[in-house]
Symmetry: C2
Subunit: 383 residues, 2 copies
């Protein structure tokens, strides 16, 4: 159902020839109104791709009539000419769809440091516009894939309104967003400020808490567009919860499809003095290469969990930390706990719980293991 | 020549049976005086192994008569009983060698969360003491190896005095020290304060700037012992330089022997506004898993360098960053520079230069690539 699950949206996904493979590589998502409200969250990487710098400007107006997304090239580190390419993309979409280029968001994903083939991309916009449909959400989700093995979509139903979405991302998933492009749509009648509040709250607790490989992209973009076509204005809490549900589902799908991964690791930090402490500790565990290798080897190596916790500035007493792996408390009071032989790690999902015994706050971070396949995929990516 | 290159030291390395393989696993380094001055630097991990907590106390007195080092077990996360084991180790060494347990430093390396086999370790101290020799430095260096493929030693000669040293470490090399045990010795006549100043200055620019895999150990220990046996008190600058030379050589040997690595990556950040900025940027590049994979694949993927720089808080303008790989400026002004096909990456050493164009400060960080062998070694470590 994807981005066309909500009323008032059309979408398309086509092969414009940007990818040499001939796979789909260009998506359009069009808000047919009556409202054109929008909010966006972007990478916190200071090296930002041209489409990110463009779309940040667009979103300041709070109105987006359409989003052009391409895979096959990130248009990052491409200088002033790369920015001109993004500008030309928005102008072309405005010409084809009608409307104002200043209300067209652009998102790109793929290799950094390579100019986009504009002779393919610009005609592709016309071709995609001709295929726009209220059932085009799946095709759009397929066209934004890079190394993703599956396309990712999600839907949440409210009382007379809907939130739908699509995502791409299979690596470089890290706080401050990931190499992810996400477009969420809703037919709820919510203004730009309401969208912004719901989206920031949701991304903070979902996309910002997946950390596949510790790497932050130059292109991360999460957009939420509202058409108002349902005529219903939901209660802010109910709306925020629906946005969070869709984001959480998509974030979980990203982790489940991370490049070369064999395990999804759910890291829950409890007993923290503050939520920030819980997040800091969770991320430190999530990024520990030695632990990630151990999990890959189905080795419940809790010493590496403690070693990662010890590098943080969170409040804790090392002698009061407990760690469970898949429900077995292998570390108690900072030392040996239950028998590690009891830990069953055969399944894809691995649950690590770290209890800091320092308070009542908690957070969940999702990560992946580190595998030879990850090394292989990322050694060969640009060659 | 190792720790016995300097006059006034004896050492030994033996197989005490701590390692099931029967390989050497226990080393003794004894300061025969006349001076017993010492300084130490330890892991900044807040989860500290028992021997680290013990030796930190010992070093506060500024006097060390002997160091007991074992491989085959880290004695970390072993609770109060683990600390008692370290205490008993020092007591046993004091009994065998004469002297005060409060002047015996202890260092351990190996798996976390496992008690040491004290029934093997304590008799081993007597056995090692019986083999102490002014030529025992090499054997001591061999006995502290874990996954190291070679033992590491270094010597610098002053004007009538000498600094020697040994190191172990093959992974978990990260700032705030690494999984490394290092013992340096000198026959220069320098007091504890002089040793401390020279050691802190040296480690800050050497061991703290190698980052094999971003992981920080619970056991890192670097000790500098002075016997005064040469009767010469060097100029502080000359002494500091000799200590730095030995540390730099040992640090470089650690990177060259990092677990599963196929490349040594020298990351030089220049044009930084401050040295701290240069170090922050260098570490961020050093820890980027995607870049480490690319280097392994001999792919001069400068986009991943920029992506890593962008996550830092250093002063720079993204459009003024230049990046060279092995001397080819593949990125200029944050965008495409010289032809990446010109970059020759066949050799083990890879040089990355990042010019932030923001000042005159610089720093060098050493790292390794990320390989399938690293994953394999660290998936299988404790099983």
């Amino acid at each position: 159902m994807s981005v066309t699950a909500a009323k008032g949206f059309t979408a398309a996904g086509i092969a414009a020839g940007i990818k040499e493979s001939g796979q789909p590589d260009l998506a359009l998502v069009v808000n047919e109104g009556p409202r054109l409200a929008a909010a966006g969250v972007f990478t916190s990487n200071r090296v930002k791709a041209a489409p990110v710098r463009w779309s940040e400007q667009v979103l300041k107006g709070g109105q987006v009539s359409a989003v052009v997304l391409n895979s096959g090239g990130a248009n990052a580190c491409t200088g002033p000419l790369g920015f001109q390419d993004t500008h030309a993309t928005a102008e072309k979409a405005a010409e084809v769809l009608g409307g104002n280029a200043g209300e067209i968001a652009v998102a790109s994903t793929g290799l950094i440091g390579v100019r986009l083939p504009m002779d393919k991309l610009l005609p592709g916009i016309g071709k995609a516009a001709a295929e726009l449909s209220a059932h085009g959400g799946e095709k759009a989700a397929i066209a934004i894939k890079t190394t993703d093995t599956v396309h990712k979509t999600s839907v949440a139903q409210g009382d007379g309104w809907t939130v739908g979405g699509m995502a791409k991302g299979a690596g470089m998933l890290a706080p401050g967003l990931a190499t992810m492009l996400v477009v969420l749509t809703t037919d709820a009648d919510v203004d730009a400020a309401g969208l912004d509040a719901a989206l920031r709250s949701a991304t903070r607790q979902t996309f910002d808490r997946v950390d596949s490989d510790g790497c932050m992209s130059t292109n991360d973009t999460v957009l939420l567009l509202a058409s108002g076509a349902s005529g219903v204005t939901p209660a802010p809490d109910a709306f925020a919860e629906a946005v969070r549900t869709v984001c959480d589902d998509l974030a979980r799908q990203l982790i489940g499809d991370a490049e070369g991964s064999s395990k999804d690791i759910r890291i829950e930090v409890v007993g923290a003095a503050t939520e920030d402490d819980a997040v800091e500790v969770g991320r430190s565990i999530a990024r520990n290469n030695l632990l990630k290798c151990a999990i890959h080897g189905e080795d419940p190596n809790w010493g590496r969990v403690l070693s990662a916790i010890g590098t943080t500035s969170a409040a804790f007493d090392p002698d009061r930390i407990d760690v469970a792996i898949n429900g077995v408390w292998v570390c108690k009071n900072g030392s040996v706990g239950e028998d590690r032989e009891l830990v069953d790690m055969r399944y894809r999902e691995v649950r690590i719980t770290a209890d800091l015994s320092a308070g009542a706050e908690s957070a969940v971070i999702w990560a992946n293991d580190l595998t030879a396949d990850y090394v292989h995929e990322n050694s060969a990516y640009s060659s």
